[in-house]
């Protein structure tokens, strides 16, 4: 999630005081009734928090529609394979006391029998008056080591009404130089680069190079890492609706058809290969958290909230 978060925030942004937590008071009901009420309350709370996530409240209608469409497609297609979100509520929706930074995170792990490790969606909003208004919306899907197929990521980072960074990719999980067949199967044969090429035909779109060398290494050579700069906000909406949205949906389609499937030939067979894949996945996840959340979350949400949220994310990522 928010893998290039660190690259878009101003390093000079002021430190923000931590969020006041919103724990519920102890109940006075009987144990049984309390358990039933709690269960119902948890379900309601889960629905409430999912709706809160799906609101994408600080972005334009077109962008919200895109994120909702992508998340709904993912959840609908993988429904039977996904467990409910089990992040603690305080890591699912949180803000800092003055309301200048707010975020929502939605993680659903895959069933043990599924190749899905977890699906994660998030939005982060942060306003520092006269300095920056930052909105990041992001969806990623991570596979487990039963398959070596690529993951999926889409991320939109906007720090002004007329400028937006798009990351759209199926990040590789094997070294592409050592495994040219993998490059062929998932990138050449899927013609993944065509989306990048088509988007680059628009005069408002240019390549985006992340300042982080790790981020550059982690995305595939067919990744759409692009910066969209427009003169009028309406143009950005048009580009999102007519170009980015179809591209993102097609890339997700490729991922659902070709990667998020349990096909025998895609299974990692050797023990060594599986261990190597697990090491690589872990290294990627740890480094993402280290370069991204560890650096930025404390500045935005304060130490206490950050450490609670990052702990929950690390748990879901399997890198605690």
């Amino acid at each position: 999630m928010a893998m290039i978060f660190c690259n878009t925030l101003y390093s000079s942004s002021p430190s923000l005081s931590p969020l006041t937590s919103f724990r519920t008071k102890p109940s006075r009901f009987s144990k049984k009734l309390r358990a039933r009420v709690q269960f119902r309350s948890m379900e309601d709370h889960d629905d409430h928090l999912r709706l809160k996530f799906m609101e994408f409240p600080y972005v334009t209608a077109t962008r919200k529609q895109l994120m909702v469409d992508l998340m709904s497609t993912l959840e609908d297609r993988l429904q039977s394979q996904l467990l409910p979100c089990n992040l603690p509520p305080e890591a699912r929706s949180f803000k800092n006391p003055n309301g200048s930074a707010e975020a929502s995170i939605h993680i659903r792990s895959g069933q043990k029998s599924s190749p899905i490790d977890f699906v994660i969606g998030s939005w982060i909003h942060c306003t520092i008056p006269n300095v920056v208004s930052l909105n990041i919306t992001s969806i990623s899907a991570f596979l487990n080591s039963s398959t070596k197929a690529p993951n999926f990521v889409v991320e939109l980072i906007q720090s002004s009404p007329t400028s937006l960074v798009l990351i759209l990719d199926l990040p590789h999980r094997k070294d592409l130089v050592l495994n040219p067949d993998y490059l062929k199967e998932y990138y050449q044969d899927t013609n993944l680069d065509s989306h990048r090429q088509s988007l680059l035909k628009l005069p408002e779109i240019n390549p985006y190079v992340s300042p982080s060398l790790f981020v550059r290494s982690a995305f595939s050579p067919a990744a759409s890492m692009l910066k969209i700069d427009v003169e009028e906000e309406g143009t950005l909406e048009e580009i999102l609706r007519d170009h980015v949205s179809p591209a993102a949906k097609e890339v997700l389609g490729v991922w659902l058809e070709r990667c998020a499937v349990e096909e025998e030939e895609k299974r990692v067979m050797g023990v060594e290969e599986k261990l190597e894949l697990e090491r690589r996945d872990k290294s990627f996840r740890k480094k993402s958290i280290e370069e991204d959340l560890d650096l930025q979350f404390p500045r935005l949400f304060g130490e206490e909230v950050s450490s609670r949220v990052i702990h929950a994310i690390k748990e879901a990522f399997g890198v605690l």
Copy 2:
């Protein structure tokens, strides 16, 4: 060598007839005298062919000076570790019958005790009247599996007097996502990206994205893959002299100081790690030849010359 050769040539270029070979006639001298004469003649021939390579005859004075400086630095610094060029003469200098395509290749393998596998320099010139005049000059240095340190490459590809593609890099030999320490040691700590960033400050320089996904994977995230477009040829000379040349020399300096050295901690210790490195190096070299020479050489030099030259290169690359 010429790793992105395939990306700059016009696919519509006409097929060219093969080069007439220049084998010497059988001699009539005594066996001993013949051996001595042959040895002397071989030495002379070697000098002649090295000088021919170092001529870089079809490029501007500034560019020739840069290539000669880089090759001389490499050969001077590694002198005791390098064997003489043992490519067959017909693979060191060759052209097609009508003279529209000409090339020179210079390969020196490292001594067994050295971490250098081989150093390769080349220039390729090709003119198709009213279509294209292409000049590629390239120097690479490959390490063997006694070390995992990166290789070195500099390549200049010019298809018009006012436009040039530069590739300058220390291509990684380990998966950077799996090995973040490697990324730190050779790319972050060396500040390799600073050269790319400095060059990009010039308005005439923009990022270059190779159409080949393999090429994009093979270069490091700090590679200077840049396109220089100028209005007047003189400006290109200035940029080469004042900006590209110092950057290339500094990157070569980093490679000579930090990579082409036999330090115990850089040695690959485990048998498995060494085998993996060998597999990756081999995969890289095979794929480079496949995507590059196998595709383009027959069109330029004809089947016969190409197959002879490619055979000799494969031998030197250890991928026959």
